[in-house]
Structures are given as C-alpha cells and as structure tokens.
Amino acid sequence: MGHTDQATATPHWSQPDVLIIGAGASGAASAWRLASAGLRVVCLEQGDWVAPESLAGNGPDWEHRRLTNFHPDPNVRQLPADYPINVSGSAYSPLMFNAVGGSTLHWSAHFPRFHPSDFRVRSLDGVGDDWPLTYDELEPYYDLNDRMIGVSGINGDPAHPPRSPRQTPPIPLGPLGETIARGFDRLGWHWWPSDSAIISAPYGGRHACNNCGPCPLGCPIGASSSAEATYWPLAVRLGVELRTNCRVREITVDRHGRLQGALYYDATGQLQEQTAPIVIVACNGVGTPRLLLNSRSRHFPDGLANHNGVVGKNLMYHAIAGVLGVFAEDLESYKGPSAACIFSNEFYETDERRGFVRGYQLQISRQSGPVSTALGVNPAHRVPWGRDHHAAFASRFGRTGVIGVTGEDLPEACNEVVLDPLLTDAHGIPAPLVRYRLSENSLAMLDHGVARATEALEASGAVETIVNASAQKVGWHLLGTCRMGDDSSRAVVDRWGQAHSVPNLFIVDGSTFVTSAGTNPTTTIQALALRTADYILRERANLGAGPKGDA
C-alpha cells in the first residue's frame, strides 16, 4: 500500500452525500470515516498528490529546497497550489502546505494529546473559554486516530492520563536526546519520550522510519503518519472521489439561505459547481475563514456562518521560542527525526507565581544537516565566516540541540484573518490578510520558558546557549478562527462542529479550537474530525440529508 493507491479507479459521484473541502489532516480523517460507513464522499483539494520520489529528502539539494520550493511559508514557496497571504499587518507568517495530505506533508509529527485541563481553561484559570466537550468525550477518537495512523511512544507518562498502548516504540533518542534527558533528571523535572506520528517499526503495511532526519520535507518512505500516507489510500479505496487541483471559490446557499454546495475552479481553470446536502470545510485556520468570508450572499452578507462577526477572529498560532545548546562532544545530532524526540510538561499548567496564566511544553529537537548548522537558527548566531570558520563549524556540527518552548496563546479578537481588499490568488479569489501579535501573557510565558530551557541545557552540559527569542516569526499552528461553543452569539460552530447559522455546514480543521493548549494540535484536530464524522453518520436522517432510498 502507500501513495500509489491514488491510481485506484474511483466512481464519479455527481450526487455525493457529503462534500469535503480540503484534503489535509482533518479532511482525510473525516473522508475515511464517512466512506467506511458507506457514504458517497467527494473531496476538493486545491493542491495535488506529491509523489514520494519527488520529495526533497531524495536529492542532494534537500537543504536548499527547504529554503525555496519546499519552504513551509507559502509566501516564500509560491507554488501554483498556494495562495498569497498578506502578512503586512503582522510580524508572523503562517505556515501551511497545499497538497493531498496538507500541512502534514511538512510537519514534524510531534503528536501529543491535549490534557483534560485544556478543555476547561475558563473554569480553571478564568481566561479564554471552556470547550463544549471534555477530554473523556474525545478520548475514544484520540485512540481511534492513533490506531488508524500509527503513533510511536511509551505508556506511563505521569504528566498525562494513561493512554492506550502506542502502536510502535518511541523514536530513538540518540546521544543528544539521552544527554538532555539526563539534564532534566538532574533538575528533577519531568521529561518523557514523545508521542510521534512516525512509526518506529513497520505498521499498517508501511515501512519503519530509518532516522534520516528532515521530517518537515515530507517522508519519502511513508514512515511519517501523514494524511497522504495513512487515511488517503484507505479513503480512496473505499470510493472517496478526491478531485485535486480544484480550488473552491465559495460555498453556496439557495435563495432561502439553505446550504447548496460549492463553486470551484477545476484543474483546467473551468468553473464547476458541486452540490451536496452536507458540506465539511477542512481548509485550516486561515483557509477556512477565508473561504467563509468569500462566501457572501443575501442571507450571509458578511460571509457564510458569520452571523455574529466571529469568523476569522481569535487566531492562535502558539507562542514559540527556542534555545540552542552547543555541546563539547559529538552527539550525532543530525541523526534521527528532527523534532521533539522527548518533551517536558513540567511547566504545562498554571502556576500564578510565574507571572502568567496557562503554560507551555518544552520540546527537545535536533538539527539536521550541515547547511542548517552553518546558517544557525537565526542570522545572529550563524557560524562566523572567515579564518575561524572551519573551527567554529566543527564546534557545532553534530553537537547542537534545541529546546523549543511551545506556549498556549489565548484567544483574542484582535488576532484575526480578514479578506485583503486588493490581493488575490491566481484565480482572482480574494486572499487573506492576517493580523497577529503576542499578548503580554504570552511574552511573559516565553521569557519564563526561555529561562527554563537555558537552565535545562546547562544542566545537560551545554557549553554555550543561544536564545532564539521568538522562533523565526512564523505561525506554526492555525487555530481558533471559527471557534466552537454552545452559545451561538459567541461561537461559529456547535460542539459537533456544525455551523450555528447554517445547518449541514461543518468545520473540522483547527479553526474550531476554543483555546490552543501549550502543545501541538494535529492529534486533537483529527480526533475532532472523526467525532464530527460520527455525528453526521448518527444524525444524518435528522439533518435532512439522510438516505433517499438509493443508498
């Protein structure tokens, strides 16, 4: 099995039961779940399949491609599948990839779950909002998703409720991970091997990871449990019709305001219409509000489902910084999956003595490759040029590790996605404009986290530490812009992901997040997508979209 199953012949559904827009992490999971119950599903994706053999990790120019045509920032990459994003109102550029598999093609596959407390932020800490669901309600879907894609890790973490057995053992720590783990032990701080969406042993017919390193360039051997290597081959085999190079212009409603379908430009640029009784939007926290805001009608003059002006508000990227440690000995830090072989949740929960609410996760990652070693994490600590260059390079190569700080940023209406008044994509569709800044709480959190990361590196024996105060000014995770909630005056979707003001319109990507938690989101995104799919299966007759005798 694997990517090549894309060639499997699929039926052409002119009348699907469900239309899904976006073939990334959440679109893939919901497509598989719905199709496995026999529903007819069409998925529209603006990108294409990326052939494993075309991925950067196969070629000698892989570090160059990471900085150019496989850069995680679409404004740098500018591939035909990408749309421009105006970030002039923001110090941060959002990262994403547009293809079958979406941003899981360039993820680092760190795959932690949220904590029970993450769903009760308002009750516990008086900030943000509570989610309209609990960890316990989501747990069966976390488990199902893990089984479907394959997650490496080990049970017994004292910082989190017990989890079902991981599918494969932890990814190797290597000398670097072991060195830093001992540093955390010396300080009496928590650490644990990461749950990673990377299989360390064969699973589901896929090959085990061979520790080549640069996961964010896409995995040529399919060991990364990304959506195009896991859910999509299964979904296509179940009959899901995945139409690639199809960019949706707008979601349409009829003259009564009832959901109708979507208008999209096909691979030849021809405008097409696809009707469906149920539409699922899965375009990420920037793409989804963009699409809804672009879907205006008499009934929704400010954008579909935007009855309360909340669509696009409350963008959360996570507050992220990093500290690079340089060690005296060769720790082979270029070997092994680059991101987060271990993590620490010592500072994950609120402790008001620290001067901020909520918390962060520390993630231990490696540096892969000689070019990135020479360039450093930012220009200020690039390896110096000139006479001393080679000695300085030798003192770093294989000897560096980064402790990243991933902090919870809270929902704020001023952090937002709106439509740019002028900028459009190649099809003339209005592009998004993003405004984002870090709050005082997030900045205080990062200060604390950077100090703790530095302390941990020193306790691990680092001879030099270099702070990257705000990692590369990029938006790593795209969350919160179509928030979920029971109160239809303050939320875009309800607890099942269904739009409050548009029956049968569902959102399953990270834009429904109520709060961001101090950790990576894709585990939770996919669990929520599976849960919404089950709701649709259960309630389909009541949604006015049930079988019409031909199913």
Binding site: G57, N58, P60, D61, E63, H64, L67, H115, P116, S117, F119, R120, L124, T134, Y135, D136, I154, G156, P158, A159, H160, P170, I171, P172, L173, G174, E178, D185, H190, W191, P193, S200, N210, N211, C212, G213, P214, L217, P220, I221, E332, Y334, K335, G336, E349, S368, G369, P370, V371, T373, A374, P379, R382, V383, W385, G386, R387, H389, H390, F397
Partner: protein, 150 residues
C-alpha cells in the same frame, strides 16, 4: 547554466567566497569548489534579489580601491569584506548564506565531515532503539496532571 555575471564579477565573487569559507586541510575553499556558479544561478532565478546582489558586488569592488579585489592579499580581502559587511548588511547576509548553502551541500564537503555525502534517503541512519531504562527516575514520579471536575 544561465549567468548574470561578467567575467570580472565572477572573479570577484570567487575571491570573496574563498575568504568566507577558506581552504582547510585537504578541503578546498568555496571558490575552488564551484560555489560561485551555484550562487550566480540562484540569483539568476530570483530577479527580486539580483539588484541587492549586484550592488553588493560593486560595493566590494569600490571598497577595493585602486587594486582589484582578487589581486589583494587575504588579509586585505578580509578587511574589505568586513567593511562591506558593515555598510551592506543585507547583501552580506545573502552572500554568506548562499555561500554556506552551496558549500555544505557538496558531497565532497559532507564526506570531509564524516557523512556519507548522500541525500537523507534512502540510506537514513542506524540508531540504537529507545532504552526504557532511561525512564527509571521519571517512573518514580506520581501522576501529576491537573485534575478536572466534570
């Protein structure tokens, strides 16, 4: 390969990158390993950066005064480059970054670092599997996640 440089500009670039990453032991300098052609090709593909790049090369030439930059001694070249680094920081960062990007992508350089000189795949790396004994201390800790009342 497309070129956007005159012969003199190419010679100047070659001399400059040979000071940015000089020869070391048996390893030739960036200039002697063809990195200038790689850099020139990169800027040929990125017209938006070309002006910064060409202006920067001219700044090196001007700072070199009445003697051509390539003909100057290593110490003199280093001093000139430090001057341009201060006066043209955007250009100089581009130049150093592209020199490193070209140089460290070369298999001959990677082999000198003890690497295979091959791409990440299909070879990968063999690593020792995770050792559960590393968790001895952590496993002594009682569960401490924050409890939530439903």
């Amino acid at each position: 390969m497309t070129t956007i440089l005159t012969g003199a500009e190419h010679a100047l670039l070659t001399a400059a990158v040979s000071r940015i990453v000089p020869a070391h032991g048996t390893l030739p300098s960036a200039g002697d390993l063809g990195v200038p052609a790689t850099i020139a090709a990169a800027f040929a593909q990125t017209p938006s950066l070309r002006r910064t790049f060409l202006d920067g090369l001219q700044a090196i030439d001007l700072a070199s005064g009445d003697q051509d930059f390539p003909a100057r001694s290593a110490d003199e070249q280093d001093a000139i480059l430090r001057t341009v680094e201060a006066t043209h920081p955007v250009f100089f960062t581009l130049l150093v970054d592209h020199t490193y990007r070209g140089y460290y992508a070369l298999p001959i350089v990677q082999r000198a670092l003890g690497l295979s000189g091959e791409p990440p795949q299909p070879r990968g790396y063999t690593m020792a599997p995770f050792d559960p004994a590393l968790l001895t201390i952590q496993r002594q800790r009682a569960p401490f996640w924050r409890q939530v009342k439903e």
